[in-house]
């Protein structure tokens, strides 16, 4: 999607009035365009005014929120100032399982602080998403993974809170993309999956322009979070400054 097309859709986007594909395409453009970003931020202030009611939150809601505050992940450790290849952690063998083209990218720790969000799917939402994930899972491997004891479901959300991708991780280190709503990228770009290990982003692999079927194997290091960036085709050694989606493991 070019600048003019994306710019044309900023007002509907500010009202969340785009379908998933178009939303993804416009958001992918906005992430790289300062002018559209400013305009969208501005429109969102107008939408915020539009959504302002005089309502008061119900009694007891804060107490329920407060009760969940200790469910937070351990803070991410700041990365060391300088480092090169990390020899200690075995590289996650990014495998091209099934037919997906999941090229291996060497394990390189990046000297960048990556802001990570946390998937906040609460229990009922989690059950809901799992049910529909099973329904839409075409590959037996994903269904099997979702039925494996000890599996973990990781939801990656955009900075605006939309669920963009769901992965399932197995205790043995295998991981699969369950479903995603990532918009197809233009020629020459790819989505890349990162794991945060000991506070540092580590490439798990490139996912292609329009990920549909992705499988990977993590070696002994379990990431505390997963994140997806948009990179030039072939992938990058260090992640782009802003993640398209991220979520805690």
């Amino acid at each position: 999607m070019n600048h003019a097309e994306a710019h044309d859709l900023l007002a509907p986007l500010s009202l969340d009035a785009l379908d998933l594909d178009r939303r993804g395409e416009v958001e992918a453009h906005v992430a790289t365009c300062a002018e559209c970003q400013r305009e969208l931020d501005d429109l969102r202030e107008v939408a915020t005014a539009l959504g302002t009611t005089g309502l008061v939150a119900p009694e007891g809601l804060w107490e329920r929120i407060a009760a969940r505050l200790d469910e937070r992940p351990a803070p991410i450790e700041p990365p060391p100032l300088v480092f090169a290849r990390d020899e200690r952690a075995a590289p996650p063998r990014a495998l091209g399982r099934a037919r997906s083209a999941l090229a291996a990218v060497s394990l390189v720790a990046a000297a960048a602080v990556v802001a990570l969000g946390v998937g906040l799917a609460h229990e009922s939402a989690r059950v809901g998403s799992l049910t529909s994930a099973l329904a839409s899972a075409r590959r037996g491997a994903v269904a099997t993974a979702l039925a494996t004891p000890g599996h973990r479901v990781v939801t990656l959300t955009s900075s605006t809170g939309h669920d963009l991708a769901t992965f399932v991780l197995l205790p043995d280190g295998h991981g699969y993309l369950v479903r995603d709503t990532l918009a197809p990228l233009g020629e020459g770009r790819t989505y890349q999956l990162w794991g945060i290990v000991a506070g540092r982003p580590v490439s798990i692999g490139v996912m292609g322009r329009a990920p549909r079927s992705v499988a990977f194997t993590l070696a002994d290091a379990t990431p505390s979070a997963l994140g997806i960036t948009v990179e030039p085709r072939g992938g990058s050694l260090t992640p782009a400054p802003s993640m398209v989606a991220s979520g805690a493991v």
Binding site: P12, R44, T48, A49, L50, L55, G117, G161
Partner: protein, 191 residues
Amino acid sequence: MEEIAEASDAQLVTHVARYSQAALAEVYRRHGGAVFGLASRVLNSRAEAEDVTQEVFLRLWNAPERFDPTRGSLRAYLMTMAHGRAVDAVRALSAARRREAADATRSFSPAPDVAQRAWDAVVSEQVAAALAALPDPERRAIELAYFEGHTYVEVARILDEPEGTIKSRIRSGMRRMRGELERRGVQGVEL
């Protein structure tokens, strides 16, 4: 806690990043009602609006670095997130379920920020006036999209108009809203 009460929204978020629950409570006092109100309006269900509100504040707690004060107000950040989650939920529900889920949105009684609440009341009054000043077709398109969670393509189908027409109505309506709100002294709903 006097310090916290007087901190700007951006300062509060830096305290939240240091795991200050008091700071998050203050953010909630200032913006909890608005977040809940918007979620209620879109979802038409108190229980689901509470879920969305919880998610929004837990997300700020878990990932405060995602709020970038140079890009806009904290209110807009929280409301954008709340609206996105609410719309995702509403689209996942069947139309029938939406109709019967009208358990409505009453007001409730904890102790919100009084000044903020008064300001919200002013904003919502001014917004109602600004909306009323829009040409009907623009207002209708914006309301169907924002409050009922329809995509602009669906709005076009509902109103039996070309998609391009609805897209431009939303765009010109939003631009006009911005002008109207500025004229009425409501721009940026920051503290």
